[in-house]
Point group: C2
Chain length 311, copies 2
C-alpha cells in the first residue's frame, strides 16, 4: 500500500521534504497558510530538481513533479495522508496552534512528525487528543542531499509509530537514527556543538586562526568522517579495537575534557573576532555565492558516494 | 635550490612521509636503527605507490622510488639534509636520546621536525645545543592521502624555522596549519576528543546506539566537513554569518557545554559496552579487511576531490 505523505509548510525545508517523498515514488501534498509561499513552491522545487538532474542524482524530474500537489486548504491537503511532516516555525506556541489545527482535520491514525531542529515534540503535542502518533523527524538541510534523519519519540509516542516512521524514512532513501529519549539538541547538534565549543575556545585563546581550524577539519578529520563515523574510526585506529584505543588515547581526551574553562565559548567578543577573520576570508557580499558553491560541492560528493558506496 | 629531506624511523609514518617528499620531487633518505624495518621499507613503499597509482593519485611510481634512498648509517643518512622528519616512538625519553644522536651528526641549521601526535617538542628538544630549529610537524595517517599537517613551534623555535617549515609543507602538497603555542593534543585531536567525549556520554546514557552515532556523522555532519570546516559551515548557515548564527544557536550550544557531567566518558564499563556493539557490527577478525576498505574509500574520496577541487 502506497504511503500518502503531506507536508505542512512550504519553506525551504518543506519543499525539500516534498522532493524526498516524490523522488521515492510517493504522492505528496504540500500545504502552507501563506498563499504566496505556496504559489512559488512548484517553481522552486523544479529548480532544485534541475540541479539534482545535472549531478545525476535525479533521473525523472517530470515524474517527481507529477507526484507533488500543492493545496491551500488544510483539510483537503491532509485528506488520505498516512504521514505528515510538519515544517512550521521554530516556536513552541506556533507549533501548538498548528498541531491543534492539524488534529482537527486529520485522521487520528496519521503519523504527525515535526522537522524541528531543537524543540522536544512533547512540548507542542502534549495537549493533543492523540499525542501517541506524534514525534520528531529532524532532517539535515537539504534532506534530498543529506540523508540523516533524527527520529525522536516523546514519552507518549507508541513503539509502532516509531517503527513505522523509521521504516518509512528508510524506504524513501533517508538514513534514520533513533534518539531513544528526548534530549536538548538531539544527537547531531550536540556533536556539532561539542566540536564548535572546543574550536571557539582554541580560537579565543589564540592557539589557532579560524581558517586553520577549518583546514583541520576539511583537510584532516572530516575526510574519514564523510564515510565512516567517529566510533568506527577509533575502532580501526588501534590494533585491538575501541578498548585498546581507549587505553591509548582515553587519558588524553579526558584531560581535554577537564581543561574546559567555565567561560561561554560563544561570548560576543569571540564572535566579533571570528566574524572579522571570516569576512577577511569571505566578504559578506560573497556569502550567497559561497552557499551555491557549497550546494554544488555537496551534490558532487553525493554523486561520488553513490558511485562508490559499498556499505 | 632543492630541499633534501631525511626521515628518521621507517615505520608506517616514516615510510608515508618518504612517499610525500619523493612524490613532490624531493630527494629523501630514510633511516632506521632497525635493519629489518629498513630492509622491508622499499617493498612496503612500492605497494603503497601501487595503490595510489590505481586511484590515479600518483603518475610516476618509478620516479618516486628513484628519489627514495634507504641508509643504515645515521651520519650518512643525514649528510646534506635541509629538513629532517623524526618518526620515532611516542616516548619522551626515547625521543630525547634520538634527538641527541641526531644533533651529534647533523648540520646545526637542519630543521628537525617531529611527527609526534601528542608530545610538545619542548619536552624532548630543550636539552639540545640548537633547539631553535626544532618543532612539531604532526601528520594525519597516512599523510600521502590526508594532507593536514599541524606545525607546532616550541617557545624556542625561531620564526624563520616556522616559516620555512610551513612553506616546505605547502610545496610538497600538504596543508599546514600553525598552532601558535604548544597545547596538549594540538588542534586536531582536541577537536576529535571534544566530539568523542560528547558521543560517549550520549552512548553511555542510553540516548543512542553506537551505530546511530556513527550514522549521524557519516550521513550527516561529516559530509560538509569533508570539504568545508565547521566555522565556514556555521558562517553559511545563518543569513548574516557567524554573529547571526551565534545569536540563534549559541545559547543551545552553551547549554550543551554546561550539561556535561563530571564522570570520565572513557570509563571501562562504557568502553566494554561500546566494544560489544562494535563487535556485533564488525567481528574482531574483520578489522584488518575493514581497514583496507577504509584506505580504498579514502583514496577514492581524494581522487574525487582532486577532480572537483576549486578552492
Amino acid at each position: 500500500m502506497t504511503t500518502h505523505a503531506a507536508v505542512v509548510g512550504a519553506g525551504l525545508i518543506g519543499r525539500a521534504w516534498a522532493i524526498v517523498f516524490a523522488r521515492a515514488g510517493l504522492p505528496v501534498c504540500l500545504f502552507d497558510v501563506d498563499a504566496q509561499a505556496l504559489a512559488k513552491a512548484r517553481g522552486a522545487i523544479r529548480r532544485s530538481l534541475d540541479d539534482l538532474v545535472e549531478f545525476g542524482l535525479v533521473e525523472d524530474p517530470e515524474g517527481v513533479m507529477s507526484r507533488i500537489r500543492v493545496e491551500a486548504d488544510l483539510e483537503r491537503a491532509l485528506a488520505g495522508a498516512d504521514y505528515l511532516q510538519e515544517c512550521g516555525p521554530e516556536d513552541v506556541e506556533a507549533k501548538c496552534r498548528i498541531y491543534a489545527q492539524i488534529e482537527s482535520v486529520v485522521s487520528p491514525t496519521t503519523i504527525l512528525a515535526s522537522s524541528t531542529s531543537g524543540i522536544a515534540a512533547s512540548r507542542f503535542t502534549g495537549h493533543l487528543r492523540y499525542p501517541e502518533r506524534c514525534l520528531v523527524a529532524h532532517p539535515v538541510n537539504p534532506p534530498y542531499l543529506i540523508p540523516l534523519v533524527e527520529v525522536v519519540p516523546t514519552p507518549a509516542t507508541t513503539d509502532a509509530v516509531v517503527e513505522r516512521t523509521m521504516q518509512l524514512m528508510a524506504a524513501i532513501d533517508q538514513i534514520p537514527i533513533l534518539v531513544r529519549r528526548e534530549v536538548q539538541g538531539f544527537i547531531l547538534n550536540r556533536l556539532q556543538g561539542a566540536l564548535l565549543n572546543e574550536a571557539l575556545r582554541l580560537f579565543r585563546d589564540g592557539y589557532v586562526s579560524a581558517a586553520d581550524l577549518d583546514k583541520t577539519v576539511k583537510h584532516g578529520l572530516g575526510l574519514r568522517w564523510s564515510f565512516m563515523g567517529p566510533l568506527e574510526t577509533i575502532d580501526l585506529n588501534a590494533p585491538a579495537g575501541v578498548i585498546d584505543y581507549g587505553r591509548r588515547y582515553g587519558p588524553l581526551y579526558r584531560d581535554i575534557d577537564l581543561q574546559r574553562d567555565a567561560a561561554d565559548p560563544w561570548a560576543p567578543e569571540t564572535l566579533a573576532r571570528l566574524d572579522a577573520e571570516r569576512r577577511d576570508e569571505l566578504p559578506g557580499e560573497g556569502l550567497a555565492e559561497r552557499q551555491a558553491w557549497r550546494d554544488r560541492r555537496l551534490m558532487a560528493l553525493m554523486a561520488h558516494q553513490h558511485a562508490t558506496r559499498n556499505d
